[in-house]
Amino acid sequence: MSIPLVKIENVSSGYFSETVLREVDLEIFLSDFIGVIGPNGGGKTTLVKTILGIQPLFKGRITYPSGKPRMGYLPQISQIDKSFPITVRDLVGSGLRARRRWFPHLGSDQKKQVDTLLEEAGIASFASRPIGELSGGQIQKAFLCRALINDPNLLILDEPNTFVDKGFEKELYRWLKELNKKMAIMLISHDIGTISPMVKTIACVNVNLHYHPSNQLTEDILKVYNCPVDLIAHGPVPHRVLKDHE
């Protein structure tokens, strides 16, 4: 077994005195593609923020046994102010660290790096446009570029499939599959149905975390995990959440 990128041990976290996440254990390896599911308010985003190191822990610890990994993060787009006057180029560039602390502008090679990535993502023609002029899918692409510009070995995506059309969603998943060859991916979604064919393993987060080492989950297991997911909660007919086992 290889060394994990991130090792989460007995972590509790939350806001003020309210515990959102309780005694969570999880190991993330470079080859992982983890689908993080769970109800809204169940602690999915909190879990991600503890991994990113911007959420104080009440208890437990997070270690990086193979050195601090480079992490790429795509936040929930609904949290973003799309009317903010920032161009796509500057947005993606904000994912790079400046070399100097006292004049933290990007070097010309770093600017070139941004343009190359925009080219690869097929949004180079929007580079000088403000993000407010982009469509939902293009915005997601721009934010994904920001997450990828630092060449991460752990990519964390918070609900990347909201506000986008089906065409983009397909493209996104193809892209992620390719990226997974060189980096670990954590994909948060409240919609287990769409992500399950993509991911390798599933983590159900509902205050506690239950790790399921395959991408096939049955309703019964979800019940045992106490992990109510949207699709089950108000699906009229379907009682099976995922595709059939082969």
């Binding site: 006057p85 904000s94 660290r97 000088s128």
Partner: protein, 282 residues
């Protein structure tokens, strides 16, 4: 025309022009940050809270602007602190600060024995009474702000746009947020001299939204907002002289008129473009 050339010979008018230009440049930088972050209401709170400082300074016989600056800085950093802790409703906190500052100001001014001559100039500004030392102070602060924006452009924009991501990137978010709060507070107090507490907010918003009709790139909004700010306040200043109306109010009306005209042009142009496109369909 000769009348305009004539008033330029007066030192007070030249000072007023210089103040209008410097204030426009300063508010272009700080105002672009305010409008982008959508914290206009916070800035209104800071502005009105500073009146408490003015009143207190009057009462204790100190420089009113020093009092205003102290109150503004404390309320600005206080609001930033509240919004980071997130325990109190931010908008309610601002409303309390807003009215409490005004109330304290009124009480202290009322309690101050004797006549308080230029109270009106704090409320509505008096750009014609700007002195040389006021100008030097304004110039110095303008330079400091410009240097700060130039050097730290990226972290300023990135912490304003997405503070959480900036934190992940290792940017000292709290430092930049608080520094910008202090800068907003001081920029507001320095601009109160020109247009007064009641009117100052429009200097920090109207040229910026006018500029944003043309560009939505933070770096380009600043110089364009400075342009519209300078144009509007210089025109307003001349209008106030020629029509014999209060300068602060004239400047604000001119800035707003500019915005409406530009907006109208943009709407008409968009309409024409749409019509042209529509014609192709026939």
């Amino acid at each position: 025309m000769s009348e305009i050339a004539g008033i330029l010979e007066y030192a007070f008018f030249r000072n007023a022009l210089a103040a209008a230009i410097l204030t426009s440049i300063l508010s272009a930088m700080v105002g672009t940050y305010i409008v982008s972050r959508k914290i206009v209401f916070i800035s209104g709170g800071i502005t009105h809270a500073s009146f408490g400082g003015i009143g207190m300074a009057y009462f204790f016989g100190l420089n009113p602007f020093l009092g205003a600056a102290i109150f503004a800085v404390f309320s600005a950093t206080g609001i930033e602190w509240i919004s980071q802790k997130g325990k109190v409703r931010e908008d309610s906190a601002i409303a309390i600060l807003w009215s409490l500052g005004m109330a304290l100001g009124i009480i202290f001014v009322f309690m101050t024995p004797g006549y308080t001559p230029d109270l009106m100039s704090f409320l509505f500004g008096n750009i014609l009474s700007v002195t040389h030392s006021d100008l030097y102070l304004l110039l110095a602060f303008c330079l400091v702000a410009a240097l700060f924006f130039w050097i730290f452009y990226r972290p300023i924009v990135n912490t304003a746009f997405d503070p959480e991501f900036a934190l992940i990137m290792g940017i000292p978010v709290a430092f930049f947020r608080y520094t910008m709060s202090v800068m907003i507070a001081l920029a507001i107090v320095l601009s109160i001299r020109s247009v007064g507490i009641i009117l100052v907010l429009s200097l920090f918003t109207v040229p910026q939204i006018t500029a944003m009709l043309f560009t939505r790139n933070f770096a380009s909004v600043i110089p364009l907002a400075a342009f519209w700010g300078i144009l509007g306040s210089v025109l307003g200043l001349f209008a106030s002289y020629l029509l014999d109306i209060p300068s602060g109010a004239a400047i604000i009306c001119m800035l707003t008129l500019q915005f409406l005209l530009v907006k109208l042009v943009v709407i008409v142009r968009e309409g024409v473009n749409r019509k042209r496109k529509g014609d192709g369909d026939f």
